[in-house]
Amino acid sequence: MKVLKDLLRDGKFAFGFFVLVVLVFLAILSFFSPYDPYRWNVVPRDLPPRWPHILGTSSRGQDVFWELCFAVRNSLVMSLIAGVFSRIIAILVGMIAGYKGGKTDRLLMFLSDSFLVLPLFLIIVLIGSMAKARLSLVSLGLLLGVFGWAWDARVIRSQVLSLRERDFTYTALLSGSKTLSLVFKEYMPFLTPLIFATFIGNVSWAIGMEITLAILGVFRVEIPSLGTMLQWALNYQALLLGYWWWIGTPVVTSIMLFIALYLLSISISEYLDPRMRIQRIGKSTR
């Protein structure tokens, strides 16, 4: 709580946090939706925003606001799973390869290079078709996670390679730190900005991938998500027909999501780096 209070003093964090809270609120709201997101034709079609349809209705006869609630919930779940899962792999592989070096490093980098090189698109189509498009949000998240780490692991590794040469590694060793705790306690703070950045990149990639997969049919287009919402709006030419509320909603929401994540990550990284935190405080009281 104390930390949160500290962080909230930063405008960037406050804004990002606010947006995220709103999104989470929307996601929770979806549990109270008066409409089944899988049913069409439940409200009059193509209405502009007006009470009670505060974000209008779509050509499928759905209420855009409530669709958004489901979309936010599902997209958050899916992309966070993908982001977090691939981060975990990337961090583990990158850190261990960088820290251990030698054979371990070579093996892990071989693995990640192979992942880098493989035509991801092809593989996902393959897996998708084997799963007969029955991928759930969670398994899609995991799948994207499995394929989203290789590059970031390489980046993390290169950072660790230089970090491990710094003397504090030895201090930590002399303090009896075990490999894992050493790597996480000593190197992690340096990597947080990087990890956050790759996390955002990964989340945006995952959401983009989800749209692509939905288009290809590997993922079910009926599951409401920011991606499929956009996809439907585009298919029904909301842009040209002037249903701006329909196409604008997912676009603005996803941009807001990324801005929020970005601001949060910057703010948190600054907070974690005492040098920057001090500067920040120095600035704010000047």
Binding site: L174, S175, D273, P274
Partner: protein, 319 residues
């Protein structure tokens, strides 16, 4: 007095450079010495002569190219494999660069608590605090000043002292101190050096004291080894070596110590090497290029050790 640590034929070769230009540097070349218990053993010499590398090998942070290190008569690496924690308790170190000793993104005190808890020296935070306070007092830092602060909030000297305090936490038998007081004023330097002395006398602690400050080396150490470009060029009792240096490099070194006396100032100018590489690449005596009394054979052959009284000298002058 028992032998605590023995270094035998230690060699470390680094290779530097890119695909196009590769250079091999023998950072440590066939180094032999032993440290008694208790003893303050000083390693001194030109910057870049391999002192830190030697220390890192002893501490197990660097792998030697060849040679062995024995601790209490057993190969140190095997001991480490057997009981890491015990070895960490027994051997502690202070690093050269105080600014990089602690992670700038972590508070300094966390290392203190970790040392105590990881090495199972204390079992509670309360106990830890007591212990830390005690050690901090020994280096002249107050507990309040120290809690919850990041390394960049301390001055260089303060960091060095913190580093020493941390090493003392485990009550080690051997402290490898790599220039532990280079950024500390003379008065405090004295108190720390005195601390080493006391530790040795009261608790039989041995110290490998790596330093450029030959006056304190003279003041505290029992024996001293002078290194030059990876080789020990002279080794013996500190008093003897420093008051009566034999190797031309030791002589130069001794002569270069600035006296804290405005009346005494240096005479002749010294010649410095531009880069270290050229001297590393020498086949014969590495100092031959700058030595005032260099002979032909110095440039071609690597001189062996000669014993003069208690002192080993690696110079053909003493053949």
């Amino acid at each position: 007095m028992r032998e605590l640590l023995e270094v035998k034929g230690l060699t470390k070769i680094y290779s530097l450079g890119s695909i196009f230009s590769r250079i091999k540097i023998t950072a440590v070349e066939d180094v032999n010495f032993e440290v008694m218990q208790p003893e303050i053993f000083t390693l001194a010499g030109e910057s870049g002569c391999g002192k830190t590398t030697t220390a890192k090998i002893i501490l197990g942070f660097e792998e030697q190219t060849s040679g062995m290190v024995f601790y209490r008569g057993k190969p140190i690496n095997e001991l480490r494999k057997k009981d890491k924690i015990q070895m960490l308790r027994e051997i502690q170190a202070v690093f050269q660069n105080p600014f990089s000793t602690f992670n700038p993104l972590r508070t300094v005190d966390s290392y203190f608590y970790e040392t105590l808890l990881n090495l199972k020296i204390v079992s509670s935070k309360k106990e830890a605090e007591k212990k830390i306070e005690e050690k901090l007092a020994a280096v002249g830092i107050s507990f309040e000043e120290f809690t919850q602060r990041y390394p960049n909030e301390f001055s260089g000297g303060q960091l060095q002292r913190l580093s020493i305090a941390r090493a003392l936490l485990t009550d080690p038998s051997l402290i490898v101190a790599d220039e532990p007081v280079s950024m500390v004023d003379a008065s405090l330097r004295m108190s720390i050096v005195n601390l080493f002395k006391d530790l040795k006398e009261k608790y039989s602690v041995s110290v490998i004291y790596i330093t450029h400050d030959l006056t304190t080396a003279y003041y505290v150490s029992d024996r001293i080894a002078i290194m030059f470009r990876g080789n020990i060029v002279e080794m013996g009792p500190a008093e003897e070596v420093l008051s009566n240096p034999k190797h031309p490099y030791t002589q130069l070194l001794r002569e270069s110590v600035p006296e804290p006396d405005p009346e005494k100032r240096w005479g002749t100018k010294v010649v410095l090497a531009d880069t270290e590489h050229e001297e590393y690449l020498r086949i014969g005596c590495k100092f031959a290029g700058r030595c005032p009394s260099a002979m032909e054979k110095c440039k071609k052959n690597n001189p062996p050790y000669f014993k003069v009284n208690d002192v080993l000298v690696k110079c053909f002058l003493y053949k």
